[in-house]
Symmetry: C3
Subunit: 149 residues, 3 copies
């Protein structure tokens, strides 16, 4: 268990413009407001989408699944922290479109997307430092928080 | 990029009753607590559900997909703001049920649902005004926030 | 409608370790920080997962669907409250993996999972008491909040 409590929190709300890129332009919002750590949740729709998943054995992300065409974003969720000195968004996306009268999903770790509409909320943790460092147990860059167990 | 910071935030938590209607009765909670803008997240289950998706070319929502029968709500997520002078909920729903030993999804823009159980959280932004106006780039009613790019 | 407003809120952020168990080790974090009521959202990945859904007629949860192997967690969402004198997590999980070049979902009410990575946010409501009691209208243990309708 590795956790910290944030007591200085700011709440941002807004939207991206049609044609904006994810995650780039969401990170630009966070940068503009001086966010160093936080959480993100958004809904909306995208006109292109690429998602991936982590391959545990290869310790790398797989070749993305891609789709062009309007796709509803049920949830774009994750967090903001620092990696290699820059603001980094770890975002998972749950998206869907109708096909043959049923819901078809396209979901996973967000690689990139083009925004149709994106209504977002960011909770900034202004008193918390979340730094990603290589974690040998997973092969991922994870928060270097002290283990409290 | 169009975003604002809210510094006066309230947190509501509660549940709807069996037989309540979504989004109507969730909006009634928000009205009762004087919420003018905010975000919503809920989990639970519904006994009827109708979802849709936006058709970009037709600039309108499609004929809803409907289901009757218990459906688990993985996430009912979105926001509260003003449209045409009234409180408006823009809510996407991610729901599922088991079929032949596998997860079957029904998801999209929430049209309506009948509640079995709905445990919700509302974060009210009391110092922020979010007004939806027609946006010609999408054909949707979007928040009239100034563009900061 | 049964809702309360929390004015004493704390924000926790952190991650679980590889091999930790859900929901057990997430509840352990909450216990360690003295959380009595709150909400939860997390993303990440799990190496085993069991989900279920509520059977309204039988008034019980079904036999779980299970999967072993890396599964992306799009959203682990829900709440913390008291049931039978102990901290209880009501958590729904939306998870996926790639199969034949498409997204395959495994989702529902979380039974248990083994963590690969879990980056979580907890909003603690320190001034709110949420106690689950048997609700005859659903057969579930629901929050005993006064009805304000």
């Amino acid at each position: 268990m590795r956790a910290v409590e944030s007591r200085e929190v700011r709440h941002l709300v807004g939207r991206l413009n049609r044609g904006d890129r994810l995650p780039r332009d969401l990170l630009a919002v966070a940068e503009k407001f001086g966010v160093k750590a936080g959480r993100v949740h958004a809904i909306g729709g995208v006109t292109t989408l690429a998602v991936t998943e982590f391959d545990v054995e290869a310790q790398t992300y797989r070749e993305p699944l891609r789709r062009a065409g309007m796709t509803e974003v049920l949830g774009l969720a994750g967090n903001l922290s620092r990696r290699d000195g820059a603001l980094f968004g770890h975002l998972h996306i749950s998206a869907c479109y109708e096909e043959n009268g049923a819901t078809k999903m396209l979901a996973g770790h967000l690689v990139e997307a083009e925004v149709f509409v994106c209504e977002f909320h960011i909770v900034a943790y202004d008193d918390v430092e979340l730094i990603r460092e290589f974690d040998p147990s997973t092969g991922l860059a994870l928060w270097n928080l002290p283990d409290k167990e």
